[in-house]
């Protein structure tokens, strides 16, 4: 039932009628012709109805707080409640973004220190916290690459190279920044095809976007050679930080030769995903791109107080990316997370994320599943391909995914990266226990059995959720994007 179906004309949550003391909310006659005459069309419900409706709706979601959620490339790990509490202190929640710096030293201190931590973990020279998600971080990074070449008068560099395994945001970003995308093939072993790269790299190359470990769940072993190749051709290297969780404290993108990167704090720094955001995608840069960082960033004045840096301080900035200063509340959570972990804790993130992934990969292999890159170490994630199951039992990766829901596990990422057929990209993260992983393997083993003996059970799954499999085709064909009230 929709909240609108609880609505009755004239019903109200009266405690939310907010006329301020001493202020009469008389009619706004002075607005004249600007006055709205049509109904607002919001639901009219009681406070209990709202609380009950959304409490019950929430129970229809899977969530990290409820179950294992091994969504590859998404890093669904525990979101510390302590970080949430820290960011929810009234002084922070009520701070207006345009409050004078003198009244903002608390927030600025956190942001300043976070910039430093992020430089440290990535091996970069400078950081801007303003991008509001990974994709916006990518935008900022690629826009800086463009600004760099333009500043140098290097106007022919119109191409961005992207390995074919890349996340969709990479090519989409390159296009948003006005570049042409060239895809680079990936070898059977999951590495970039170096010959293919060398064949396309050249004076038109503005840069290469990649992530390492790659979205194939393996570490790109030739990274130094790739970096040299691109750099020699005059291009820059962009690091998509979505996979930073795999290497936190182990290798730094800056040391691998990357010139610019974004981080997904909502992944590596454990801020909650919120059912689709908010995220935060700070960018880090080496010396060459530092002059182009998006504003604002935080600096320290000579007297030790913190202040905002804007286009006056960074004249070549690509500019502003958000109305104010990015998803500050998420940055506070990430800052809190960094403080809780400390340097030692950070080092262990990559270690245990990798341990869990390799253990799970090995266990699934033993249960009869086919790994996409069996000869490789798993990183923080790995790929299982169900091509054979799809061919012989006609049970697809999507069927396996849906059936997992019945067992109370969220499904891994399906059909990504696109180059591996019928794949599941599985990322357990470091905050899951061995027992939880073993439970998942047991379910997968069972489903494999079902696929052999009773495939219909799997192909018509899920069976125990609020709805059965949904008709996506109808959704796109008979578009119903807003409730039409029966007046």
């Amino acid at each position: 039932m929709l909240i609108y179906e609880h609505s009755r004309p004239g019903r109200m949550a009266r405690a939310q009628y907010v006329a301020a003391q001493g202020i009469s909310s008389e009619l706004a006659d002075d607005l004249g012709a600007h006055l709205r005459s049509s109904a607002l069309g919001l639901p009219e419900v009681s406070e209990l109805e709202v609380v009950r409706h959304y409490t019950n709706l929430s129970s229809k979601n899977f969530a990290i707080d409820k179950q294992f959620y091994p969504l590859g490339s998404c890093t669904m790990k525990y979101n510390p409640r302590g970080a949430h509490a820290a960011a929810s202190i009234p002084g922070f929640l009520k701070r207006h973004p345009l409050a004078p710096a003198a009244n903002s030293q608390g927030y600025l201190a956190c942001a300043y220190e976070l910039q430093n931590y992020l430089k440290d973990v990535t091996g970069m020279q400078a950081v801007s916290l303003t991008p509001m998600a990974g994709a916006q971080g990518e935008f900022a990074g690629v826009a800086m690459i463009r600004a760099y070449h333009q500043k140098r008068g290097d106007h022919d560099r119109v191409e961005i190279l992207v390995p074919e395994a890349a996340h969709g945001t990479n090519p989409a970003t390159a296009v948003m920044c006005g570049f042409v995308v060239r895809e680079i093939p990936v070898t059977k072993e999951g590495d970039v095809d170096l010959d293919a790269l060398k064949a396309v790299v050249g004076p038109r190359t503005a840069g290469l976007m990649m992530t390492n470990p790659s979205t194939c769940g393996v570490f790109e072993r030739q990274i130094q050679e790739i970096a040299e190749t691109v750099h020699e051709a005059g291009g820059l290297l962009y690091y998509d930080g979505a996979n930073l969780n795999a290497i936190l404290g182990k290798v730094r993108p800056g040391d691998m030769g990357f010139d610019v990167l974004h981080m997904n704090l909502h992944k590596t720094f454990a801020t909650p995903h919120g059912g689709g955001g908010p995220g935060s995608g700070p960018v880090g840069v080496g010396a060459r791109l530092a002059p182009f960082l998006p504003t604002p960033t935080v600096g320290m004045a000579e007297d030790g107080t913190y202040r905002w840096l804007d286009h006056k301080d960074i004249p070549d900035t690509i500019g502003r990316l958000s109305t104010f200063m990015g998803n500050a509340g998420i940055l506070l959570r990430a800052y809190a997370y960094a403080r809780l972990l400390g340097a030692e804790g950070m080092n262990r993130v990559g270690e245990y994320a990798t341990l869990n992934a390799n253990y799970l990969a090995k266990s699934l292999e033993q249960a009869g599943y086919t790994l996409a890159y069996p000869a490789r170490r798993a990183t923080h994630e790995f790929i299982v391909t169900l091509a054979s199951e799809a061919k012989h039992q006609h049970v697809t990766a999507m069927d396996f995914a849906k059936r997992l829901l019945d067992y109370g596990y969220h499904a891994p990422t399906t059909y990504f990266p696109l180059l591996v057929p019928e794949c599941l990209l599985i990322e357990p993260t470091e905050t899951e226990s061995k027992a939880e992983i073993d439970g998942f393997v047991a379910a997968m083993t069972q489903i494999r059995q079902e696929a052999m003996t009773e495939p219909a059970l799997v192909t018509t799954a899920p069976h125990s959720l609020p709805v059965k499999r949904l008709d996506d085709v109808k959704a796109a064909r008979d578009l119903d994007l807003a409730y039409k009230v029966t007046a």
Partner: protein, 456 residues
């Protein structure tokens, strides 16, 4: 390792199963010379207790007693139920609803959000949010240029009284795709756009109108919309959702309404929180839905015919279309959509109207009181929504500095924002301000003006 559950024996068993002697061996594919130096900037870990204390101390530094700052982010009362519900793990710790059957909570909620936004704006369809108001506008510009089939222009005419930060963000984002932003200067006497815009609109792909504008003023949206329509330009309305409880929704501007409506969702139950996370909303005519970026939820049925909700029109999105997508946006502002949806449900029609009306009355009251101070006048005289520019007899930034030292943020000094407005203060009043607050503002303002005068 605060959140890692592994015991020593777990670790041993797991390493044994993998067949490696220790965790380090799992990193053997990484070239040795790349292995990281230890972190030098990240301090040692602290307990949650120590963190809480530290953060309490810092947050305290940022507290103010009273604030009249607006300029794009507004202090509203947020019903307690909103964040009690939003903070539920089921909403907060879920991912984007890719597995629809396991995400009906979030999906239905977004469908409800889309419904509410279309009604509030009187538009046909809404998306599931983009980052914030400014990026919503940037996306709307790109969208309008793609969608406008009547001309091939890449020129967007932007109201000069648009929030300068919105303009800056749009510039950053759209310039790479070759869009040209032409500013349509506002009349310095009224703060509103001029009465004749036909020439400026000629050959433009779109016109951006801010309603209310940056100064709180209300432009003649009917005229502007109709003029744009005649010129073959699409109309993008940048609107404040609270204001729409009182003033004309973009879908009803002029003869045919705006084509795209965007804005900042922050006023709908989202705390100021240093500027984010907020949410940008986008609505448009049905005919443009396939040009709209961001996630869109559709209602459909399951195998048994039961209604359910799912991500739809994904062929617009980067994970399907990659370089050909309408935008690169992926993660958006889901949790804030949750907050806004619950906020709008709790307020309802009459509740939101009261918020708007109270803010409006308070703004008028403040204007009247402030203008009794010697040398203080209203910079523009037309009607406003909950924000007004006061012209002061002294430099406004000095006034802000001195009032802030008393714990009162009187508004935004416009000197750094709009040339020639060094004496101007942009003041916002929402329903949170009582008559006593307004009196306190006026009293302190008068005092501080005297003080500044004396020291100059």
């Amino acid at each position: 390792m605060p959140f890692i559950p592994h015991t020593a024996s777990d670790e041993q068993e797991m390493l044994g199963a993998i067949g490696v002697p220790n965790i380090d061996a799992l990193f053997d594919e990484i070239p040795k010379n790349l292995r990281a130096a230890t972190l030098s900037e990240v301090p040692a870990g602290i307990s949650e207790m120590a963190l809480q204390r530290l953060m309490n101390q810092r947050a305290r530094l940022d507290e103010v007693a009273l604030s009249f700052l607006g300029a794009g982010a507004y202090e509203h009362h947020i019903p307690a139920a909103v964040w009690d519900l939003v903070g539920r793990g089921e909403f907060m710790t879920a991912y984007t609803p890719y597995q629809a059957e396991a995400s009906q909570g979030t999906l239905q909620l977004i469908y409800e959000f889309q419904t509410m936004m279309t009604r509030l704006t009187a538009m046909d369809v809404a998306n599931a949010s983009v980052y914030d108001g400014a990026t919503a506008l940037a996306e709307a510009m790109l969208m309008a240029v793609r969608a406008n089939k009547s001309n091939k222009s890449n020129r967007v005419v932007v109201a000069g009284n648009l929030n300068p930060n919105y303009h800056a963000v749009c510039h950053t984002i759209v310039k790479n795709q070759g869009l040209i932003l032409d500013v349509l200067a506002h009349d310095p006497a009224t703060g509103c756009l001029p009465g004749a815009v036909e020439a400026a609109l000629e050959g433009a792909a779109a016109l951006v109108i801010s309603y209310p504008n940056f100064f709180g003023g209300l432009d003649d949206v009917d005229y502007l919309t109709d003029s744009a329509a005649s010129a073959g330009a699409l109309v993008i309305g940048v609107v404040n959702p609270t204001a729409l409880a009182l003033i004309k929704p973009p879908g009803e501007w002029g003869t045919r309404g705006a084509d795209i409506a965007v804005g900042e969702g922050q006023p709908l139950g989202i705390p100021l929180a240093s500027g984010g996370p907020y949410l940008g909303f986008m609505c448009c005519r049905q005919q443009f839905v396939r040009q709209m970026p961001g996630r869109i939820i559709g209602r459909t049925v399951d195998q048994t015919g039961k209604p359910g909700y799912t991500l739809t029109l994904q062929a617009r999105e980067q994970h399907i279309r990659r370089g050909k997508a309408t935008s690169n946006i992926c993660t958006n502002q889901g949790l804030l959509v949750t907050a806004a949806t619950i906020y709008m449900s709790l307020l309802g029609n009459e509740g939101l109207r009261q918020v708007a009306l109270t803010a409006h009355s308070g703004t008028n009251a403040l204007t009247n009181l402030a203008c009794q101070i010697d040398g203080v006048t209203a910079r523009f005289s037309g009607p406003v929504f909950h924000e007004r520019v006061l012209s002061l007899p002294v430099d406004a930034s000095l006034v802000v500095e001195k009032m802030a030292a008393h714990g009162v943020l009187p508004g935004l000094a416009l000197g750094d924002w709009v040339t020639g407005m060094d004496d101007c203060l942009l003041v916002n009043v929402t329903e949170t301000k009582t008559a006593a607050d307004i009196a306190c503002f006026a009293r302190l303002l008068a005092e501080v003006i005297e003080e500044v005068k004396a020291t100059c």
